[in-house]
Structure formats: C-alpha cells, structure tokens
Amino acid sequence: MKKRLLAVLMGCVMVIGLAGCGGGTSTGTETETSADTETAADAETSGDPIKVALVYSGFLGDKSFNDLAHDGAMRAKEDFGIEVQELESGEAADWEANFVAMADAGYDLVIGVSTQFQDIMEKHCPNYPDTKFALIDGVSDAGDNVVSTLFAQNEGSFLTGAAAAMFTTHTEIEGVNEEKIIGWVGGMDIPVLHDYFVGFEQGAKYIDPDIQILQSFAGNFTDALKGKELATAQINQGADVIANVANITGIGAMEAASELGVYAIGVDTNQDSLYPGHIITSMQKKVDNCTYQIIESVVNGTFEGGTSTYFNLANEGVDVTDFSVIKEALGDQFPQEIVDKVAELREQIINGEIVVDYYEGYGDPANQ
C-alpha cells in the first residue's frame, strides 16, 4: 500500500517537474481555458480586451533584452487594459511549441521576442491569417499579418566600441593597463550578434586602428559562469574593457570585470548600476518602446502587416547611456573627452557622415 502511494507521489513529482521545465506551455493552456469561460460573460458586457502573447527565447530576469520587452508590454497593459500572456523557455525545442500554442489559443497579437523566432514565424504565421504577429529584432516576410522590427545595434555598438577604445588608453585610471586590448563576450554565435560586433569593431578601430579586440562566444545566453570564465580569460590576456552582448551570460562577464578591477560595457538595458563604477556605459536597445508601439498599433487599429520598422540612433531606437554612473565613481579621473567624442560621433552617424557597417541581413531594410 505504502509503495503504491509513494509511486503515485513520485509520479506527481515528475509531472510537476516536467511542467516546470516546459514552463510556459502549461500556463498557456491554463489561461486559455480560463479565458474561454470568461469570453461568454465578457462578450455580453464589455467586449473582449485585446489579448497579447509574448514568447521569449529565454527567461525574464536577464536584466536585458527580455526584461525590456516585458516592461513595454506591462506599460501597454496599464495604458490600454489589455490581457498579456508571457511564455519563457531556454530550450530551443520549446520555442516553436510555445509560439504555436499561443497562435492556436486565439490571441489577437503574438509577439516573438527575439531574432530566433524568424524561421518559426515563417513556417507557422501563414496558417493563422486572422492572428496578428510581430517579430522583434529581425525581418520576417512571412505574410501580411506580420510586422518586423529591426534595430541598428551596429550603430549603438559603434559608439560603445569607440568609448572602449578611448578608455583603454587612459592608463592613469586604476585597472587600465598599457596594452591596447579590449574584449567582447557574446552569447550564441548568431547573425544578430555579429551585427553588434561589426559595429563595435568599426567604432574601436575608428578611434585607434591598432587596437586588438578579443572575441568570445559562450554558446548560450543563460550560463553566467561561462560568461565569467570567458571574461576572466580575456582579462588575463590583457583586456581591460569587456563589452558583453549575452543576457544572463553577460552578467557573469560583468561580474568578472568588477571583481578583477577592470571595466565592462552593458547591453540592451541600462546596466550601468549593476556593478557601479565598473560599467562604463551601456548600449541601449529600446525594445520596451518597440514592444509598446506594436501593441499600441493593434489597439488603435493602425497595425499594418507586412511592414518593418527600423530603430536606429536617429529615432532613438538605440543609444548609449550618459556615462553618469562611472563619472560619479571615478570623479575627476573620468576623461570627459570620451563623452564629448561619443556625442560627436553620434551626430556624425545620424547625419550620415559616418556610415556604420552592418552584418549581412541587417542594416536599414529601406536601403536594401
């Protein structure tokens, strides 16, 4: 008897465990059913609120890309009273399942929050002509019910690259060595990250053609310790500024920089205060504004499928932070010339004097 009871218990544990792993899928179905029962009641009284689903190729809490999309959606929820469902998963196998589940569940708008959803959307979006889709951080020509948004991460990275290249020459700052070496730690080796790197490299070389850039990929966006290991290796090899484009993995990279007394550059969100005094600036990708705008367009009925929007320096879709945190930490030692030069370069990029290279498949879609 006892044995049978335990077997049942164990079964429960396993099922709960599995559900935990699958993450969103189960929550997805839950809301679906509750929404279904509500629909009947709602339809009579006030009409359905617009239902929006965000599908992530990773987890919230990365203090970076995913959290930004979440912020944007939450702002829209407050302003427009929409219903928001979010599905997180770190497993590539779950992304497609989560995405299809949301499309099946009759959401008005399904947003794929990452370039990783590009292929998935091309495969499935045509099957749901009545659902609106949006791809953040990639271009999808899946159909006229899909909008795409693209970011000029190369332009933002150009500025952080330039800042890093200037910073590494200021040997009077504690922790900055003689060698002109800077590091760059990426998550997965995917095209969008190369777009970051192309800009970063060009920016650094624009300041100093002789600068050496160490590049490493962790192979994922979720292993903070791997990021720390890679950054430590680069610091041991003489790098004193480490730029990260790696979500959770990148937090490890920044921890390594702060622990070993060198400097780092944040990405996507304003990460300057994460390790105050050790993060020079962050390349901001305004994913929150972008998510908000997409939802707004659906609410207002201005959603126009088949189009893509380009967020760059000119329309403040990407930017760098104002260096205020590091300025406060370093005091007089902080070289003001970096801020001035970055502002100057920013203007030059906006008015077209400097053309930033981009990786194949990126850049302003209007020019292609």
Binding site: C21, K228, G238
Partner: protein, 305 residues
C-alpha cells in the same frame, strides 16, 4: 601562444575544476556504494540557491555554507529514502530531483528575493579568498597560489579526506563491500541500508559544498540553472577516475584545463563552435576510455579465477 599557456592558466584550471570536483566527489562516495547519483546536479542547484539566499539574509558566508550543506543533505535524503526504503529506481529519482531543483529554485527566487532570472547584490557575503602577503613579491608564487578561494583549498583537502575514508578505514572497506556485493556484506553482518544512508548524507554534504562554492565562491550571484550541467560533468569525472578520489580529481583538472584553454583560444579567432565542442568531445572520449579500462579489468579479473 604565450597568452594562452602561461602561469595564470594553472590557477584558471583550478578555478574551473573546483565546482566539478565537489560534484564529482559527491557522485564518487555514492558510487562506491553502488548508487549512481545523477541527482548531483539538483543537489548542487538547490544548495547554490540556498547559499545565496542565506548569505544575502544573514551576511555571513559561513552560515550560508552550513545551511547550503543542510539543504544538500535534505535533497540527498529524499533520494535516499525513495531509493533505499522504497526501491525507486535511482536514475528516475535522480532525474526527478534535478527537475524539482530547477523548479523550486525558480520559485524561491521569485518568492524570497522578488526577482527572476538572476540575482546579484553587493550584500551577498562571498566566501573569502586567502591572500598570503609573503607571496606578493614573488612573481610565480603570487600568480599561482595567491588569492585562492577558501573552498578551492578545501576541495583539495576533501579529496584526501575522502580517499582516507574510503581506503584506509573500516567504514570505507564496508562501503566498498556494499558497493561490490551487498548480499555478501549483509551476510557478514554489515548494515547495508544504514551504510547507504550514511553515504547519501555525505554525498549531500559534498553536493551542498559544490553549490555553495558555485554561487558564493566561484561567483557571487544566483542565476536560473546556474549549474548548467556541471553536476553531470562531475558524474563523468567520477567515471573517468574509477571512483578513486585522486583519479577523479585528475579528471576534473583535465576538464578545467580544457575549459580554460578553450576560453583563451577563442580570443585568438578559433571558431567558437569548435572550441565550445571541446569539453563534450573530451567527455565522450573520457567515458569511452573509462569503459574500455573497466572492461579490460573485468576480463583480467575473470581470467584470474
């Protein structure tokens, strides 16, 4: 190449080997009693979270380690009761523990620390590093031996302690006997079940240390699934070392070495896919070699009869 193979590589190897070492020892002690502890990963993950939580709340790394070890023991005991008392298959309960750990730490992060994904804070008291002032001016010693984390030293001590326990005490002899032939051990009057419980408790302690070191020594943060397969690498190293703590240690050092060299090589333009493949290629090779050695040993043993 001098930027890849230099003195700091020695410490880098130790640094990346230590988390795997604790995990490997955690698997070694149970394997000696014929319990394949694939729950190592889960024990580690839970205690890594508990360590960060306690350290953040109390500001003491010592209390944090103690509580982390306790949580490790609890997780190990769940496995022990299910396996020893109720005959659940050890692989099944191991997988269950790993999944449970993933979920419970995610939940705890949200519930107790009010965040998700990652948790970092200057209030997390880290495990201190040993700084020997006398080494400061001696380049080689300073580079290699200074600023080791307390748990990194402790890990090496544990290798010796575990070896002594297993191969130089009556208790160790009994454990190994239980592992080889439980029926014979029982006939000889050894309390097999009690011994298995003891082994699991020690495994929980080591797993707890592994977790605490990961989140308070190796880094000062907690992230979802921060272990990322390091527990399984530990199990692989245990296989490589054939359950002998010293050989197991050698195995983890090899893993650490490959990982560190890989990290350094990437900066030199080697394709990341190739470098990131290395630890896995190495794991498969190591396991193949271990299996081959085991089968040869068995053939030899049989031919002696």
């Amino acid at each position: 190449m001098s930027d890849v193979f230099n003195l700091s590589l020695i410490y880098a190897t130790i640094r990346s080997a230590t988390p795997i070492l604790f995990a490997a020892l955690c698997a070694t002690i149970t394997q000696q009693a014929d319990i394949l502890n694939i729950g190592t990963e889960g024990i580690m993950l839970t205690s890594a979270f508990v360590a960060v939580l306690t350290s953040f709340m109390t500001g003491s790394w010592l209390i944090a380690i103690l509580i982390a070890v306790l949580s490790g023991i609890v997780m190990a005991l769940i496995m022990a009761v299910a396996n020893i008392r109720y005959n659940a298959h050890i692989a099944a309960i191991g997988i269950a523990i790993n999944m449970f750990a993933l979920a419970i730490t995610k939940f705890g992060l949200k519930q107790f620390l009010g965040t998700s994904g990652t948790f970092t804070s200057p209030d997390i008291a880290a495990i201190p590093r040993i700084h020997i002032a006398a080494f400061d001016n001696i380049p080689v010693l300073n580079e290699v031996f200074n600023n080791w984390c307390v748990t990194e030293v402790f890990g090496i001590i544990m290798v010796v302690v575990l070896w002594f326990l297993l191969f130089r005490t009556v208790w160790g002899l009994r454990v190994r006997c239980v592992g080889r032939l439980p029926m014979a051990a029982e006939t000889a009057g050894i309390k097999v079940r009690a011994l298995k419980y003891q082994v699991m408790i020690i495994s929980g302690i080591l797993g707890g240390l592994a977790g605490a070191h990961l989140s308070l020594g190796y880094s000062q943060m907690f992230a979802d699934n921060i272990t990322n397969g390091r527990g399984f690498l530990g199990v692989a190293a245990m296989n490589f070392g054939g359950m002998n703590p010293f050989l197991v240690w050698a195995g983890t050092l090899l893993f650490g070495f490959i990982d560190s060299v890989g990290s350094r090589l990437q900066s030199y333009g080697l394709p990341s896919q190739f470098v990131l493949m290395l630890p896995y290629v190495f794991t498969i090779t190591v396991l193949a070699v271990a299996m081959w050695r085991k089968s040869r040993k068995e053939i030899k043993a049989k031919s002696a009869l």
